[in-house]
């Protein structure tokens, strides 16, 4: 999906420096089935993952070396020979193992950071490239919550989990090779045991899947009841449903928990199998090797060994199983990462709004032609019944939206947009009006604010120093439009205004009309409006609508 966004972006006129850089490897990747996000994450991980793998192998090697060397040291020591060289070597490999361990962890962590940041960057590029309609169709809350968590979850799947799964092959081989150096028969016994273990894994895995499916089928609906009730808490209170909801919540959580438990009981068997084989291998090896020492049994490879040899086998055998355990521990990383990747795939561009079809249907060549013939100065009104595409045409004039004009791109980069949706920064009214205009001259700001009646607004006392809270939450729609207009006036740019008078009371609406008409004497002002009085002031009117597109030239 991210790729799709990037490819789509190629045909878009709005280009920014950041969005022109292609994602390395991502765009050229063949489209294999599976998650695009996950593929991107794997590509981002690429080289650093190989470094981490090399370090991890060095760490495992040092661990085996330490275990083996200390086994030899102990074995010799019990026979009265304290070999200090061996001791030194063991200590050395312990230190080496610790240092490479630290390095591995650090490389893993920074690789995951790199992947997470790469995913964030891709999401950002997708957002930059998206049309306004696309962005408005995205589920903003879910997207934002996702951006907080998903990149990290995906990164740990693409890095940590992947490393563990690669080590699944390499780790046991290294341990088996070390044991084979002492007794190839013992190594063979371990290797032969592995398929048996894998058969158990497969059996348990199937049981876990069917158990989880049954749980999903039976109780899937109850999965997020707690979150849902917390979210809906004010509604529950407003309708006096608290007592009942609490009882219900308790019962449902309980039902869900017991369902979860029955899945967990099977899921824990997975770890249990590894424990079982690891423990049993020690027990069986100890007894076999012991019988060999007592010369009660003469199995080749298990009899006639020195103590250090049998200790060596006994102590390295658990290393054979350790990678399996580490992989099993990553189970949550896998589940979480896959879910996050799927979610991010669909989230950023899940929404395929009506935009393209709707826009091509509504923006007829006549309209586009009319919109391309705009004067340098003057007031142009786009009118029409609601749903006729006034706003769509206004967006087209601004050069945003998905439908393209016939090459006659409007060369009007300096636009001030004015609507209820404008961005209002936290701070004072003066900051809000000056935002993005490069205008900090207090007199001009005062003038602009006064022109739209913001200085004597009872609901926003304090003049230019009136406080505006985060997100402009203390502003009404009408106040936002007027701030937008004041900003536009102060900026000196061409003004595009979407329903500038819709949310205003009659007095303020008249003031805004006057201000717009005044501004249009020195620059272009285009308004999309169903306010007749405002349209009357326009020198040119474009009538939007499915049936009739007329351009009326009024005598200005």
């Amino acid at each position: 999906m991210l790729n799709a966004a990037l490819n789509r972006h190629e045909s878009r006129p709005i280009r920014s420096k950041a969005s022109e850089k292609p994602i390395p490897n991502a765009v050229s990747q063949p489209t294999a089935p599976g998650s695009a996000t996950l593929r991107l994450a794997r590509n981002l991980a690429g080289p650093s993952l190989r470094a981490a793998l090399a370090l991890q192998m060095a760490r495992i090697g040092s661990r085996i070396a330490f275990t083996g060397l200390s086994a030899i040291f102990v074995g010799e020591m019990i026979f009265g020979r304290a070999n200090w060289m061996l001791f030194g070597a063991a200590l050395g490999s312990l230190i080496l193992g610790s240092v490479t361990g630290l390095a591995t962890d650090r490389v893993l962590a920074s690789t995951e950071l790199k992947v997470a940041n790469g995913l964030l960057g891709a999401a950002r590029r997708a957002l930059v490239a998206a049309s306004p309609a696309d962005v408005q169709a995205m589920p903003a809350g879910t997207l934002i919550a996702g951006l907080q968590r998903y990149p990290q979850a995906i990164a740990s799947l693409a890095v940590g989990h992947r490393l563990a799964s690669i080590m699944l092959g390499l780790g046991p081989s290294a341990a088996a090779a070390a044991i084979a150096a002492v007794s190839w028969q013992a190594a063979l016994a371990l290797v032969v045991l592995t398929p048996v273990m894998i058969v158990f894994f497969v059996l348990v895995g199937g049981a876990i899947r069917s158990g989880a499916e049954a749980q999903e089928k039976a109780f899937g609906r109850l999965a997020a009841q707690f979150a849902d009730r917390i979210r809906a808490l004010p509604t529950i209170l407003g309708n006096h449903g608290l007592a009942r909801e609490r009882r219900k919540l308790e019962t449902r959580l309980d039902t869900y928990a017991s369902g979860t438990m029955s899945v967990l009981r099977i899921a824990f068997l997975n770890a249990g199998i590894i424990d079982f084989f690891a423990s049993l291998s020690i027990a069986v090896l100890a007894v076999f090797l012991g019988l060999g020492h007592l010369k009660l049994m003469s199995v080749p490879g298990f009899a006639g060994l020195q103590l250090w040899q049998s200790l060596f086998i006994l102590m390295i055998a658990p290393e054979y199983f350790a990678p399996f355990r580490r992989y099993a521990e990553q189970y949550h990383a896998k589940a979480g990462g896959v879910a996050a990747a799927t979610a991010l795939d669909t989230l950023v561009l899940a929404a395929r709004p009506r935009s393209i079809d709707f826009e091509t249907a509504i923006l007829t060549p006549d309209l586009i032609h009319a919109a391309s013939l705009l004067p340098r100065t003057g007031l142009v009104a786009i009118t029409g019944p609601s749903g006729s595409g006034k706003s769509t045409l206004l967006r087209h004039v601004a050069g945003i939206g998905t439908a393209r004009s016939d090459g006659s791109e409007l060369d009007r980069p300096e636009i001030a947009w004015c609507s209820t949706e404008i961005h209002v920064p936290e701070g004072t009214l003066g900051d809000a009006i000056g935002w993005g205009t490069g205008q900090s001259c207090r007199t001009r700001l005062l003038l602009a604010a006064g022109n739209v009646g913001l200085l004597d607004d009872v609901l926003l006392p304090g003049g230019l120093d009136a406080l505006i809270t985060a997100g402009g939450e203390n502003l009404s729609g009408g106040q936002r439009v007027r701030i937008g207009l004041a900003r536009a006036l102060a900026s000196g740019r061409a003004i595009l205004a979407d329903e500038p008078t819709a949310k205003l009371d009659p007095v303020n609406a008249a003031m805004v009309r006057r201000a717009l008409a005044g501004a249009s004497r020195g620059r272009l002002v285009v308004v999309a409006t169903h306010d007749r009085d405002l349209a009357m002031l326009a020198g040119k009117t474009i009538e939007a609508g499915p049936a009739s597109q007329q351009v009326e030239e009024n005598a200005a």
Partner: protein, 542 residues
């Protein structure tokens, strides 16, 4: 009606623990760790003993059955107990979780923040943070309490054994412990700040991104969209960088912890050798040394335990904020019907505390619904919330038939339909909040709000609905159906026709007002166009 939580509900701490289950889990955890330690230690001892015996004629008389049987026993104990620990521990945690969450739900419902403007946990990102906190507390016992107790006891036992058999080794071991303790302090001390910083950056970034996405049209038109996305994504990146710092600190602790067990093992062996023990006399210290080595795996988990405990502490603080200051007391008897409701000198305030306009006074009569008009931001919703008892009336007062009502009574007597009412993930029947109504009543309500066809499609009264399956207009109509079924003497509707088209809104509202003709009904609308024959307007001025 008994919907008020007890006033003293604080965050449930360990009161609700299921002691028996946790004790069993702890027992299993001990057995598992002991099994692992003994398996390694005794195997080592056994091999040493038979190897020494194998050199002499004693080999023939060596009783190997007994140690071999023990070794098998330890192997099986370790496997079975580990499984038992996991199952019982999770069961205990889940049982606790059910009670804790239900109690937390009630405590949060009793806290005033839920009635203030803007329910923050309605935002998915805030809700996700909240759920993280809840989960951190839910699993704290399993992630922190259980493993740290087990590991602590095992370490104490091993230390005692070391002190007894190779006291010299204690010097080295205590040094190692000191290093590890230092590491632990370092991690927990910085971990707090890292986690808090991470969350702060993320929340700030989310706020900025949300604001930018709302303003996407103007921003794209003014060619600022790309640069506006800079700050939020930088915020996410700095949160990730903070996470990296934490991981690096954790890696240092992991390294220290990883050295502990092997170094302890080597120290015990060396000390035994230096004190002159040889041959068979070396076997008991060797057993101890290998026991140290065997707990290495558990010691490796120490950084995870530390992080989980830091998270738990932070989560408890964060959760406590949602349930502080439960107000009000148990519910009182309230009349089922009233004839008039008088507001006197009600002072309205904006959500940030500024005064809004002059004190407000009005009288509402049963059967004569009033509609509050006024520009957005003039305090219509605050006024409704004051009547509903969700906000206090400050110096003003609300009288029912001439009797003053406190907030609790007002809350008990009124049905408040907020304009952004939620759809619960539940059946249609449960979503209507009318447990005593018959099916027929429910269908009548649904058809009055013109939702009966849609609900029949969705599976009838017992069909499962969620916020996502209903459109905004449908959710609004469901909300109005709740008001239709309400039995409270006061019904307050905030923006009841929002998201409905004009004709449908008028039709439904007319039917609803007829149904509620015996009740006190106050509604608000920012659309001055909403005029109803049945409804006298009341202008809320600034």
């Amino acid at each position: 009606m008994n919907d008020r939580a007890p006033s003293h509900v604080a965050l449930p701490r360990e009161k609700i623990e299921h002691t028996a289950q946790w004790r069993l889990a702890l027992l299993f955890a001990f057995a598992a760790l002991a099994g692992a330690v003994l398996l390694t230690g005794v195997s080592m001892w056994f091999l040493g003993a038979v190897a020494l015996a194998g050199l002499t004629p004693a080999a023939l008389t060596f009783n190997f059955h007994m140690p071999a049987a023990f070794i098998r026993l330890f192997a099986l104990t370790r496997t079975a107990a580990k499984y038992g620990e996991r199952v019982v521990g999770h069961r205990a945690a889940l049982t606790d979780q059910v009670l804790r969450r239900a109690t937390l739900f009630a405590a949060m419902a009793a806290a005033p923040s839920v009635r203030k403007a803007g329910w923050q946990l309605g935002n998915p990102d805030r809700l996700a943070d909240f759920l993280d906190d809840v989960e951190d507390v839910d699993y704290a016992r399993l992630r922190v309490g259980l493993p740290s107790t087990t590991l602590g006891v095992a370490i104490v036992l091993l230390l005692a054994a070391t002190l007894w058999s190779a006291p010299l080794a204690m010097v080295m071991i205590l040094l190692l412990f000191a290093a590890n303790t230092g590491g632990a302090y370092y991690l927990t001390g910085r971990g707090d700040a890292d986690l808090a910083g991470m969350r702060e950056s993320r929340q700030e970034a989310s706020r900025l991104l949300g604001a930018a996405m709302q303003a996407v049209v103007p921003l794209q038109a003014e060619r600022r969209w790309n640069s506006m996305l800079g700050a939020p994504f930088d915020g996410y990146a700095s949160a990730e960088a903070r996470a990296l710092m934490l991981r690096r600190r954790q890696a240092v602790v992991d390294m220290l912890a990883g050295c502990l067990a092997p170094c302890a093992m080597l120290s015990v062996l060396i000390c035994a050798w230096l004190t002159g023990l040889r041959g068979a006399a070396l076997l008991p210290p060797a057993l101890l040394a290998f026991a140290w080595l065997a707990i290495g795996e558990s010691v490796q988990g120490v950084s995870r335990i530390l992080i989980a405990s830091v998270r738990e502490k932070a989560a408890r603080v964060a959760l406590a904020k949602w349930s502080i200051g439960p107000d009000g007391t148990a519910h009182k008897h309230t009349p089922e019907q009233i004839r008039s409701l008088t507001l006197e000198r009600l002072v309205r305030r904006t959500p940030d505390g500024r005064l809004l306009g002059r004190p407000f006074g009005a009288t509402f009569t049963a059967g004569r619904p009033r509609i509050l008009h006024g520009a957005s931001g003039c305090g219509k919703t605050s006024l409704l919330k004051q009547i509903a008892g969700w906000l206090d009336a400050a110096d003003g007062c609300v009288l029912a038939d001439g009797v003053a009502l406190d907030t609790d009574k007002r809350r008990a007597m009124s049905s408040f339909c907020p304009h952004d009412a939620a759809v619960l993930a539940d059946t249609v029947r449960e979503n209507l909040f009318a447990p005593n109504a018959s099916d027929e009543d429910l269908w009548t309500a649904l058809s009055a709000v013109e939702l009966d066809g849609r609900i029949r499609e969705a599976g009838g009264l017992d069909g499962w609905i969620t916020q996502a399956v209903l459109s905004l207009g449908e959710a609004q109509r469901l909300n109005l159906a709740r008001a239709w079924l309400s039995e409270k003497p006061i019904v307050l509707l905030d923006e009841p026709v929002e998201h409905l088209d004009a004709d449908q809104g008028k039709r439904i509202l007319a039917a609803l007002l007829f149904r509620l003709r015996q009740r006190i009904v106050v509604l608000s609308s920012h659309e001055t166009g909403l005029m109803l024959a049945e409804c006298r307007p009341l202008l809320v001025t600034q």
